[in-house]
Chain length 332, copies 2
DNA sequence: TTGTACGCGTTATCAT
DNA sequence: ATGATAACGCGTACAA
């Protein structure tokens, strides 16, 4: 059941150490010997025992993906599937594995994280916790444990990769302004999330840049869900004067807003226009197809892994990366 | 940096072995000693080094989730997020971790699996490969490597957990029959998937049971996607006589079918009725809300883990579990 | 009931 | 350039 270094050594007529050197690309091995060893390794399909190697190197070659459950139920779009795809590919390319750390309660989270960290099961973590005040971050910081956040975090010591939410929102709202709208409302996400804050900021910037007034009543907080978007839209439709366009900070909320508008008997996009954020698959299939903002999710995942590995292997300093987004203009 | 068994032993005034025995619930330890040791363990938050333990026990305490990429892009519904949630909880409760094995090409899959298995990185696999003829299954069988399939597989040696797709489809179609429909068509999934076959079988059973004729033209193959459902529906709408109801084997296809019906100027559910399968979140928000079939996804994930662990730890025989589904009656 | 000693498969240090 | 040999931290016969 499985060859060991010793087996390979014997078959190649060398010592264990030499095989190990070959495996780890150490310089001091005669080329012909190196080749002979590789030959055997390939022939028998030898793979080093992960645990043994891990015990000796004090590295598990495993990264962990932390997702507080509240987050994952929030997104009905393929955010996590795509993020994970970007991450796994990047992991495998660097010889790492990716393990999951999902939890629904903070308490379960504490226990799991403690176990993960102090059993040396992972070399680093990627934290996909949208809440800015998640206690997890300060804790990891204090432990000095390597991690990268998906989504920005104010503390300068944390590495993160984020989409340019501010610019994306600005683009969306500027698009509405170009189309002649002046009474533009927004439905935000929960304001303890960085993405929600930033998308609101982009909305503000766009209005300010074009010299449009900022009406506080036109800013309604949603929760990134369809139902939340619907409720927020109902509130907006009750205002005088009624906004002619709405920037919803997520496509799910945009869908809810569309529904509310239709329920109120309004033509879309005739009497009111809605744009979203995320570019979920259904966005293109709505009536009318939704104009929205697309983030490079796969790249974000891959980049997070890259930053984390640099941190783990070379003790790299914290890095903050913001990736550009793209306005997808459709029917609305 | 982390305590070792030796440290705990010294602090508790016993030997390494005793601490180990306490940790692993071995019987022969005096209660008072046991308590004293636990005391120390709790106080310092000791966790055994995963790699060291793994090396000694020849068990990694890690399970792998295998997802050929083609599958994960197929589902825009939260199938995988929910499945994963069920799995992780079940894993943690049993002291396991869950690691991901995603790949896009069969070649990448082969390499990854080889690495995973022969490095002893995982004790078992959960295979979420929908294709019946996936070469992965025979290979694992041949290697005698423990695994459980999500979705049934014909080989009697494979353990699986599946939703009762046949019954679900039958319920959906019987519902249409009860509503008075006699010309009922179906849009199937790709026929190399068990779920697609089974849902078609359920459709057939329902018609047969009610003595309705089986018109081959009323069976059109889709691909589980919205676009595929739309194309299939267009084909169905060209038939004479036109079906008055359609059972789509997935909600995504049902959405496409609804779209095609509307594009053809048909009233839904007036002139044509559509029911789906999966109960994706949008199903409830469609106009009209979609009648569909719901599977216990979280339970399936948890059960898969349970079966796998029994197989890994106690060499349990292959088990085949089919979970009941539920008809969700809505507007259509 | 408790402790000693060896083995798990690898890396790394030190001779040669 | 190569080969012994000592860790790495834990489980477990075996001895006491």
């Amino acid at each position: 059941m499985g060859y060991t270094l010793e087996d390979i050594a014997r078959m190649a007529g060398v010592s264990r150490s030499t095989v190990s050197r070959v495996l780890n690309n150490h310089p001091n091995v005669r080329p012909e010997v190196r080749e002979r060893v590789w030959e055997v390794i390939r022939r028998v399909g030898y793979q080093p025992h992960a645990a043994a190697r891990s015990l000796a190197t004090r590295r598990s070659q495993v990264l962990g993906l932390v997702i507080p459950e509240a987050v994952s139920t929030l997104f009905t779009d393929p955010f996590f599937p795509e993020l994970i795809r970007g991450m796994t590919d990047a992991c495998y390319a660097r010889g790492y594995l990716l393990t999951l750390a999902l939890f629904q309660s903070p308490e379960q989270g504490r226990r799991l994280l403690h176990r993960l960290l102090s059993s040396h099961a992972v070399d680093g973590l990627i934290v996909a916790s949208a809440r800015l005040n998640d206690p997890l971050i300060p804790r990891l910081l204090e432990d000095g444990f390597p991690f990268v956040s998906i989504g920005r975090h104010p503390d300068p010591r944390v590495s993160f990769v984020d989409a340019d939410n501010v610019a994306g929102a600005r683009m969306a709202v500027e698009y509405l302004i170009r189309r002649g709208h002046t009474r533009i409302a927004t439905i935000t996400g929960p304001m303890d999330m960085a993405a929600a804050q930033d998308r609101l900021e982009g909305y503000r910037q766009a209005l300010r840049a074009r010299g449009l007034p900022l009406d506080r009543r036109y800013i309604v907080e949603g929760d990134f869900t369809q139902e939340g978007g619907r409720a927020a839209m109902q509130q907006l439709l009750g205002l005088q004067p009624r906004p002619t366009a709405v920037f919803a900070a997520s496509d799910a909320m945009a869908m809810g807003a569309l529904k509310a508008a239709r329920e109120a008997g309004l033509r879309v996009p005739g009497e009111v226009t809605v744009v979203g954020f995320d570019d979920i698959p259904q966005a293109a299939y709505l009536e009318p197809p939704l104009t929205t903002v697309r983030q490079p999710i796969v790249r974000m995942g891959a980049l997070a892994v890259q930053l984390l590995v640099e941190q783990v292997e070379r003790g790299a300093q914290p890095q903050r990366v913001v990736l550009p987004v793209e306005l997808v203009v459709r029917g609305t």
